[in-house]
C-alpha cells in the first residue's frame, strides 16, 4: 500500500547549535527493506540528524519525514513503528534486566517474547541482574533486546558498537541481521550510523557519507566496490612516462605505484601490464577505505546536492 514511501526522507535538513551548522542542508532517502549506512567522522552531524528523525531535536529548516510522516506532528505514531539504540544507553539502575524489558514492553503494542528469551540466552544476560550492575557491553545488549522485540519496521542504530569488545560487537551485528531477517522482510529497514564501518560492511546495501553536516557521497555499496579500486604495481625500475591521468589518485614510491581507479581499472591495468610489472594487484576499496578517501572521491566528480550521485567527469 505505502511500500513505495521512503522510510526516511530528509529534505535540505538544517540544524544549528548557535553559530555551528551541525547539519547543513542534508537530503537523503531510505527505501523500505534497505540496510542503510550513515557514515561520518565524529561531529559530522550524524547524531543530530538522527535526533531530528525522532523529534528529540527540531530542525531549523528543511524537513525530516519518517514513514512519510512528520515526526514533530505525529511523534507517537512514528515512534511506535521504530526502535532506536542510542550511542550511550541508560536504564533505571534499580530495575533488573527482566523488569527493564517488562517496562519497555509496556510501551509497545507488540512484543515478541520468544525473541526476548532467545537473546537473553544468546547474550548470557541474567534476568535477575540489576541494570546498575551491567557492564557497558551488557547494557548495549539489553538495549538491543529492547529494540528488537517489538519487531519494528525501522531500526535506528546510532554508533551502536563503539566501546564494545570485538566478541560483543560480532554478536550485536549478528542479532541485527537476525532481526532484519524477521517476518515481512520487505518492510524491515535498518538505518545505522557508525564509524566502525568494516563491521557492517556486508550488511549495508546503500550508504551516505556526511562531512560537516553536508552529504559527501551516496552510493549503493556493491556499485561503490565495483567502481573504486586500488591498484598496486611494482616495476623492475621506476616507470617513466606512464600516463595515468585517468586515475583518481596516484602515489609513487620508487618502483612501487598505488593507483586509485574510478570505474576504469581495466584500462589502467592494461596500461600497467604493458610495462611488464613484477607485481600487479587490483582490489576493491572496502567501504571503510571509501569512507577514508571520500573527500578525494567526491571531488572526482560527484555532485551530492540532489541526494543522488551524479557523474560529472567523463
Amino acid at each position: 500500500m505505502e511500500t513505495d514511501t521512503p522510510v526516511i526522507e530528509l529534505n535540505h535538513l538544517t540544524r544549528r547549535y548557535g553559530k555551528l551548522e551541525a547539519v547543513n542542508g542534508l537530503s537523503l532517502s531510505v527505501r523500505p527493506g534497505r540496510c542503510y549506512g550513515f557514515f561520518g567522522r565524529n561531529g559530522a552531524g550524524k547524531t543530530t540528524t538522527i535526533k531530528c528523525l525522532l523529534n528529540l531535536l527540531r530542525p531549523d529548516s528543511g524537513s525530516a519525514r519518517v514513514f512519510g510522516l512528520d515526526p514533530r506532528k505525529q511523534e507517537v505514531t512514528v515512534k511506535s513503528r521504530l526502535s532506536y539504540v542510542p550511542d550511550s544507553v541508560a536504564f533505571y539502575p534499580w530495575m533488573t534486566v527482566s523488569q527493564t524489558l517488562e517496562f519497555l514492553a509496556a510501551f509497545r503494542r507488540h512484543w515478541n517474547k520468544e525473541i526476548e528469551a532467545d537473546l537473553l540466552k544468546r547474550f548470557q544476560l541474567d534476568p535477575a541482574q540489576k541494570a546498575s550492575n551491567l557492564s557497558r557491553g551488557q547494557k548495549t545488549q539489553l538495549a538491543l533486546i529492547g529494540a528488537v522485540c517489538p519487531e519494528p519496521e525501522l531500526l535506528v542504530l546510532d554508533e551502536p558498537t563503539s566501546g564494545l569488545d570485538p566478541i560483543v560487537r560480532r554478536e550485536f551485528i549478528q542479532t541485527v541481521i537476525g532481526a532484519y531477517h524477521g517476518s515481512d522482510p520487505e518492510r524491515r529497514t535498518v538505518f545505522v550510523s557508525t564509524h566502525l564501518i568494516s563491521e557492517f560492511e556486508g550488511l549495508i546495501d546503500q550508504f551516505t557519507i556526511i562531512e560537516q553536516g553536508r552529504e559527501l557521497l551516496t552510493m549503493a555499496a556493491e556499485d561503490a566496490r565495483q567502481r573504486f579500486r586500488k591498484i598496486r604495481a611494482s616495476f623492475p625500475q621506476a616507470p617513466a612516462g606512464l600516463d595515468l591521468s585517468g586515475a583518481l589518485h596516484v602515489r609513487q614510491s620508487g618502483r612501487d605505484l598505488e593507483i586509485l581507479a574510478d570505474g576504469n581499472s581495466e584500462k589502467l591495468l592494461e596500461q600497467l601490464r604493458a610495462r611488464q610489472p613484477e607485481e600487479l594487484r587490483c582490489d576493491s576499496l572496502t567501504l571503510e577505505e571509501i569512507f577514508v578517501t571520500a573527500g578525494t572521491l567526491a571531488k572526482a566528480g560527484f555532485q551530492a546536492a540532489s541526494g543522488k550521485p551524479e557523474r560529472l567527469s567523463q
Binding site: R170, H181, E201, G202, D205, Q226, T286
Partner: protein, 135 residues
C-alpha cells in the same frame, strides 16, 4: 558447505557466493539433492545482507544449478542445465577468453596453458570421483 566472502575481491559478493557453490558442485563437494545453507543462518554467519544471498541463489536458480522447494529451502539440482548446448558453450567461451587473455599477459605459452587446463580438468574429475567413493 563453507562459504566465504571477500569485500576487496573486486567481484560482487553475490557472484562470489554463486561461484563458490558452482565450484563446490563441480568438485563434488556439494552433491545433487543436497541442501544449500538457508538464508538467515548464513547471513548471520557471514555477517552479510540476506538480499545478497537471495541474489546469489536466484542467479544459480536461473542457470538451473539449484532449485527452490517452497518451505523447504534450496537444493542442488541433478545435472540438467536448462540452456541449449549453444548457449552453454557461449557462456563457457567468455570465461575461456578471459583466461586466454590473462595467460598472454602473464606470458604463459600455448602448450603450457593447454597443459594447465588439462591438469585442472583431471583434478576436478579426481575430486568428484573421490567424493562419490567417500559416500
Amino acid at each position: 558447505m563453507m562459504l566465504q566472502v571477500d569485500f576487496q575481491a573486486g567481484k560482487p559478493v553475490y557472484l562470489q557466493l554463486a561461484d563458490q557453490i558452482r565450484y563446490a558442485a563441480a568438485a563434488g563437494r556439494l552433491r545433487p539433492g543436497e541442501p544449500l545453507p538457508s538464508l538467515r543462518p548464513l547471513a548471520e554467519e557471514l555477517r552479510i545482507n540476506r538480499n545478497t544471498i537471495a541474489r546469489a541463489y536466484a542467479e544459480l536458480e536461473a542457470q538451473g544449478i539449484i532449485e527452490t522447494l517452497p518451505g523447504k529451502g534450496h537444493f542442488l539440482k541433478k545435472n540438467s542445465s536448462p540452456f541449449s548446448q549453444q548457449t552453454r558453450e557461449k557462456l563457457l567461451l567468455t570465461e575461456i577468453d578471459e583466461a586466454v587473455v590473462l595467460a598472454h599477459h602473464l606470458q604463459i605459452g600455448r602448450d603450457k596453458f593447454l597443459g594447465m587446463v588439462e591438469e585442472r580438468v583431471e583434478y576436478f574429475e579426481r575430486k568428484s570421483a573421490a567424493a562419490k567413493d567417500g559416500k
